[in-house]
Point group: C2
DNA sequence: TTTTGTTATTTGTCGCGTAGAAATACAAAA
DNA sequence: TTTTGTATTTCTACGCGACAAATAACAAAA
C-alpha cells in the first residue's frame, strides 16, 4: 500500500462520471428497497449499470466519503444511512450533473432559445462542455430523434419538439401501438419481468409522493408500459415506446401532477397487470386505450 | 487562374465524399427525370443535398471528368449522357463507397458474424476504417436503433436485427401505425408533397424494373408510405415509420421481388393516393391494412 | 462457491496544431 | 433576376502522443 493511500483522510477528487454512477447506485438501492446495513455488491451493481467493477468501486468509495456507505475490509461496502435521508437525496441530485446540460438544451429548445441549426462550437461555448462531452450528449439526443447531424457543419434540431402539440402526439402514437401490442398473437406474459414492476406500483400506491420523487414515479410508470410492450414480442414496438418515453420525460417536468391523478394511474396500472396475468387481453387492451385516452391523448405521469 | 488549373488534362484526386455526392446527384437527376442536355443547377442541388455549393461543384467536376456532365464556362454544368447509360450507373455505384462498410456491418450482423458487443478498435481493424469514419457510421447505425454505445468500452448491437422474425415485426408495427395515421383527426392531404410521389409511382408502373434499380423502387415505395404518414400531422409517427423503413432496407436485399408483386404494389400505392385525395380515409385505411397484410405482415418492395 | 482485492492490458479521451472543407458574401456573367 | 465564379472567414476533421479510465483475469478472503 502506498504512502498516499495510507492517509485515510485524503480527499480523492471525484469525477463527474463517478458522481453520476454514485447517484445511480442510490437510485437502484432505492428502487430495490435496500435498507441501512445491507451490503452493496460490486458485481451486481456493475452488471446492472453496464460497467465493470472498477468504476462502481470508485462510486462506492465516493459514497463512503459522503457518509452514505461504509467500507468494510474484505467485505466491501454496506449502506450506512437510510435512503430517504438528506444525505442520500443529495447524492441523487449530485449525480444529475451530466443531466444538467441535457435538460438545459431540452429546455432552451422547448422555449425557443436555441435556433434550429447550431454548430458544435456554439454549443460548446453555450453549455461549457468539452467536445467529447458534447458529442456524447448529441449522440444521445440524436438517438432520441430530436437532433440530427447536418452533412456539413453543425446540427439541426428536428421540428419534433418545438410544438406544444408534440406531447399530445406522443399520446396519439401510444394509443396506436400499446393496445396493439397487447393484442399481438405473439404476446406472452413474462412473470419474471413483471415482479419488480408490480412491486414498484404497489409501493407508489402505498407511499406515493411522500417517499418518491416525481421522476422516480414517472420512471415507474414508464416501466409498466414498457414491460407490457416487452411481452408483445415485437422488438420494434418496444424500441418505439422507449423512444417516445424518453421524449415524454422532457415534457413531464412541465406538468404538476396532483395526488388524485397519480392514484388513479397507479390503480389502473395494477389493474392492467392483473388483467394481463389472468390472460384477459381483450379487456386489458380496452383498459389501456382508456388509460391512455382520458387526459386528452397523453397522460401526465405515465 | 493558376497554372495548375490551366492544365485541362490534370486529374484531380476525388475524395470519397465527392464521389458520394456525385452518386447522389445522379440519383436526384434520375428521380427528377432530367435528360441529356439539361442544366444541373449548383444551388438547387446544394439545397437538396444539404451541403453548400462548394462540394457540389467538386462533385460536378468529377462527373464532368467521367464524361457524364459537361462544364460550360459561365453556364455551369449540363448533363452530357442519358441517365440510364452505363457511365451513369457506374457513378451511382461508385457513390456507394461509404455504404459499403455500412452494408458489410449490417450483413455480418444479420449472419451472426459479429458478436453482440465489440470495441471500436476491433471494428476499425475489421472494416479498415479510420476512427472518425467509424464513429460517423456508428452514429448513423445508432440513430437507426440497432447499435448502442456501452458505458465503458465498446458498442452493443441490439437484439432487433438478429432474428429472422425481425422483418415480420416491422410489418406488424406498420399495420398498427399506418392505418392509424390515416385516421388521425389531424390528417390533411398535402398535394404539394404528393405530386412527385405519385409521379414516381406512375413511372415505376410504366417502366418498372426495366429502368429502375431495386433500391430505387424500394425508395419510391417507402416514399409513398412516408408521405402519407406525413399527412397525419404526427411527427412521432413519421419518425417511427422512417426508422422502420431504414431498417427494412437492410432486409430488402434478401428478397428477390418478382415483377407481378411490384406491379400489384405500385397499383395499390396509386389506389391509396387516389382514395386519400378524394378524402375517403376510411376506405384508404382499410386498403392500407390489406396492402400491408397480404404478404404475411411485411411486404417486400415497400 | 461467492465476493472482494489487485494488477496487467487494452481502450478511449483530451489537448493541440495543422490541413482542409464549408459557409458566407460579393462580384461578374448570362 | 438568376446563376455562376471567387475570395474570405469560420469551423471541423485528423493525426498524434500522453494520459486516464475501463476491462478482464487472477489471487485472496469470507
Amino acid at each position: 500500500m502506498s504512502q498516499r493511500e495510507a492517509d485515510m483522510s485524503e480527499i480523492e477528487p471525484i469525477s463527474a462520471k463517478t458522481m453520476e454512477l454514485a447517484g445511480q447506485i442510490v437510485e437502484i438501492a432505492r428502487s430495490e428497497n435496500i435498507g441501512r446495513g445491507d451490503r452493496l455488491y460490486e458485481h451486481r451493481l456493475a452488471n446492472r449499470l453496464g460497467v465493470s467493477r472498477g468504476p462502481v468501486r470508485a462510486a462506492l468509495r465516493s459514497l463512503a466519503q459522503s457518509g452514505l456507505a461504509e467500507a468494510i475490509p474484505n467485505k466491501g461496502f454496506v449502506l450506512a444511512q437510510d435512503l430517504d435521508s438528506e444525505i442520500a437525496l443529495r447524492a441523487l441530485r449530485a449525480g444529475d450533473t451530466s443531466e444538467a446540460a441535457y435538460l438545459a438544451i431540452a429546455n432552451d429548445r422547448l422555449t425557443g432559445a436555441l435556433p434550429d441549426t447550431v454548430s458544435e462550437a456554439e454549443l460548446m461555448r453555450r453549455y461549457d462542455l468539452k467536445r467529447a462531452e458534447l458529442l456524447r450528449l448529441l449522440d444521445r439526443i440524436a438517438s432520441e430523434g430530436w437532433v440530427e447531424r447536418l452533412r456539413g457543419y453543425g446540427w439541426k434540431f428536428t421540428q419534433t419538439l418545438n410544438s406544444p402539440l408534440a406531447y399530445a402526439q406522443t399520446g396519439r402514437l401510444r394509443m396506436m401501438i400499446e393496445p396493439g401490442g397487447i393484442l399481438e398473437p405473439t404476446f406472452q406474459w413474462n412473470a419474471e419481468l413483471m415482479g419488480p414492476v408490480r412491486e414498484h406500483q404497489k409501493r407508489v400506491q402505498a407511499d406515493g409522493m411522500r417517499v418518491f420523487t416525481l421522476s422516480e414515479m414517472f420512471r415507474f410508470g414508464c416501466e409498466v408500459h414498457e414491460a407490457i410492450a416487452e411481452c408483445s414480442g415485437n422488438a420494434f414496438l418496444v424500441e418505439t415506446l422507449r423512444r417516445i418515453n424518453r421524449v415524454r420525460r422532457l415534457f413531464a417536468y412541465k406538468f404538476i401532477p396532483d395526488l388524485q391523478m397519480v392514484e388513479q394511474h397507479t390503480r389502473e396500472h395494477l389493474q392492467l397487470l392483473d388483467l394481463l396475468e389472468k390472460g384477459d387481453r381483450t379487456e386489458a387492451a380496452a383498459l389501456m386505450r382508456t388509460h391512455l385516452h382520458w387526459s386528452g391523448g397523453g397522460d401526465q405521469i405515465a
